[in-house]
Symmetry: C2
Subunit: 473 residues, 2 copies
């Protein structure tokens, strides 16, 4: 049926299997599996934002409104949020595009973030995460009576969730290569090459951008964003921009600039025509509420008919969980100076950013010190994406096992050291090279363990690749 | 693009518009719109189950574990549930098929419910509601390389969410008529007729059943279930059974019997071969947690390859909100006798059932007393589905406006009395007849208002249909 198991799922099963073995008392050289393969911050030991959890607890059990131990601004916010739920209950369905009050909060957040570029509630759609929103857009793009296959220009490497989503939507993945030697920057010539190579094969409809980059950690500067916008305009492509990591840029001179802000500071021939969809979510690094499931997309310059169809399509997806929507409201409208919870909230967010920044530098230096490993510095986001040069013995063995060599590397690392990192091949084309994905939003002491075990495994492997062989045939 | 606005969405927009007008100070003959069009219990003023909300509040804000005012069994349950979340946080992703502990609780619940018929964790899949689960099944059914159009036997009337979902999945709706004069029972001859009429047009893959019936309120007896199972077996159809209202059967001599229980008490030639999918959800009447988004399906006798694909497909749907999954755990594993929260929990559930039973009888009698209105008694579920005989003036006017006459009726009722009921045409074929859908899970005083306004409108309409005409042309 055209569906295949992803290497990530395969490795996940393997990690679960090892965890079961440990539970059943089997002796391993490690006490537990550490998972740094994906962006699941709380699982890795990061703490949630207290204000979010306090407000949600009160919303779920409004008796707590009477509890004077609960901070005044927590009760006030909970009261407001309950007031925007039908029947004052998080148990009611919400409108399919989201609770109007939350959409309003999002529009105000976007306008503040973009220094006054206006944002309108009608352009903001809430969904149960950026993936769900993207699925709606892909559904619309692919939904044609005709026979033309449609395509989406997709960065290589791209978020590992993207290829299966394109596949399921019946869209063709048109790869464009990011430039590793320039810190994984977007390259204009490469965009043109990719587009030309696609023509004939499919009708390219959109270009997907991840900024700050997943999994590259690259953050685009204004010039690069302008180039992409001009390219999209000239080629009449919809711009799909994953900006989920916008709250975590830490790389020296870079700051996050939204595609929308850049677009609206360009000439009217762009700002009034280029179709742009921007995605954000409460699974962002500073919120980390992946389990609550909520995100939004803002659509700019979109055909009114398309907007209308999105509304209808969202209807069949029913509503985003209300608890997630309320968390989204808090993300875009956090405590203000003077509020009882302001100091704690600010400290918690700053701690997350400091952890990211510190870990990013530390991991990059560590990996670059290992033989056969090289890693670009990250400017933002939650991943590092090192290149790993594998001994011929390993690539040959992988070929024999009919699996990607980086997946084999990850599997061996899991088995021998209980460290779970992502395999590069999941991010699209590998062009014969091998890479790993490491999530760096983990407590520093967890990171200690990861680096020690990874380093030790890697050096053993380079030293005596054949020693490891017996376990995997 | 083959997408159309449903009458329900159209009426919803109209209801929202009227609400806005009232907010802006416009004078209306009513103070607010009462929505009894859909099963959104908390919106209508029903109260959530306290135990569910207390446990979730503690899970969201675990500091509450230290609060001695919180009942002991609430804290104990919250502690257990936090322990099954990765990193002890509801903010972590869960496995795509659901948290294993919750799947285990569900399997145990099913086995208890079905008097010992075994249920296995591997067969239980959690999703963000029964719609999402159904979408996965439909996706698999339609996912063929070949040219054959596939179909699903669908009851008329059916849940109003079903036709758009079939449409979006690329499946053909094959209608079979329920028998109104037998309280909306399933009729075997009609199933054969429907199936034969479909052959040639499409390849029927499955039969969809809603029991207790949405929107009919019919509850099947054992004999009727056996007949459907034998039919599905003979025709090699997958049985898709919506059993979301299983917790609310109140009609005299009927009780809820699951399809699975009946199947497993039949001959092995059935119990070991008939493919069955049963759906349930926390949006069930006694829980009413629609906004938290979670449900499950259990798959019986399914091809292992299909099970494998479901796992993979669910992966692209990412995980169900964790708060919803925890609510699901509580639904299937409520407080036990002796627990501090047992009495309150039991009273709350009994109150819901009593409200349903009382309202069902009351509404049915009221409607049958109105001229031109007739209504079958409901045995379970949350809707009544009366037949309404409309004056010729109204049907002609509807034709002129190119809309269904029952939608026009609903629109006029909304405008003149601020009462929002669902239009029958949304439930599939109308065969020229007109019907309404009324949710009866509302507080009795709300119901007072609904009946008074509906009765008054209906009598005015029958008396002088043309009087209403000016507002709608």
């Amino acid at each position: 049926m055209g569906i295949r198991v992803s290497p990530q799922s395969r490795l996940q099963c393997f990690a679960a299997h090892i965890t079961d073995q440990i539970r059943l008392g089997e002796q391993k050289p490690f006490k537990e599996v550490i998972d740094v393969s994906s962006g699941d911050f709380h699982r890795a030991g990061m703490k949630p934002i207290s204000f979010v959890r306090q407000v949600l607890a009160v919303c779920l059990y409004p008796e707590l409104l009477k509890d004077k131990h609960v901070a005044e601004d927590v009760r006030r916010r909970a009261q407001t949020l309950l007031g925007v739920c039908a029947g004052d209950s998080v148990g009611s369905y919400s409108a399919s595009a989201g609770i109007p009050h939350v959409r309003q909060s999002i529009a105000e957040f976007i306008a503040r973030r973009d220094a006054g570029v206006p944002s309108y509630v009608k352009d903001v759609f809430i969904s149960s995460g950026s993936q769900s929103a993207l699925k709606v857009i892909f559904h619309l793009m692919a939904d044609v009576e005709g026979k033309t296959q449609r395509g989406v220009l997709t960065p290589m490497p791209c978020p590992h969730t993207l290829p299966p989503l394109l596949d399921m939507s019946g869209l063709t993945l048109v790869p464009y290569q990011l430039k590793e030697d320039r810190g994984w920057a977007v390259d204009l010539d490469e965009l043109h090459r990719a587009l030309n190579s696609a023509r004939g094969r499919c009708e390219p409809m959109a270009i997907y951008i991840s900024n700050p980059g997943n999994p590259t950690g690259h953050v685009q500067d204004r010039k690069s964003i302008e180039e992409v916008i001009e390219f999209a305009a000239a080629e009449r492509l919809v711009l799909l921009v994953d900006e989920v990591y916008q709250d975590s840029v830490y790389g020296g001179d870079r700051e996050f600039i939204s595609y929308k802000k850049v677009l609206f500071e360009m000439d009217k021939s762009f700002s009034e025509t280029v179709e742009l969809v921007s995605f954000h979510s409460i699974s962002s690094p500073c919120m980390g509420e992946c389990g609550l499931r909520a995100g939004y997309m803002e659509l700019i310059n979109m055909d009114p008919e398309v907007m209308h169809f999105i509304d209808i399509l969202l209807d069949t997806y029913i509503s985003t969980p209300v608890t997630g929507q309320l968390a989204l409201d808090i993300m875009v409208n956090p405590p203000k100076p003077g509020d009882a919870s302001y100091d704690t909230y600010t400290q918690e967010v700053l701690l997350t950013r400091a952890t990211l920044s510190h870990n990013a530098r530390r991991v990059q230096e560590f990996l670059n010190d290992l033989p056969g490993m090289s890693c670009q510095p990250a400017m933002g986001g939650i991943y590092l994406y090192p290149h790993v040069h594998l001994p011929t013995e390993i690539t040959e063995q992988a070929e024999m096992l009919q699996m990607e060599a980086d997946v084999l590397y990850c599997q061996m690392l899991l088995e021998e050291e209980g460290v779970f990192v992502g395999a590069g091949c999941e991010h699209g084309e590998t062009t014969g090279q091998h890479r790993l994905r490491l999530c760096i939003l983990v407590p520093p002491n967890t990171l200690d363990g990861v680096l020690t075990r990874l380093g030790s495994f890697h050096l053993r492997l380079l030293d005596k690749p054949l020693l490891h062989r017996k376990n995997h045939t």
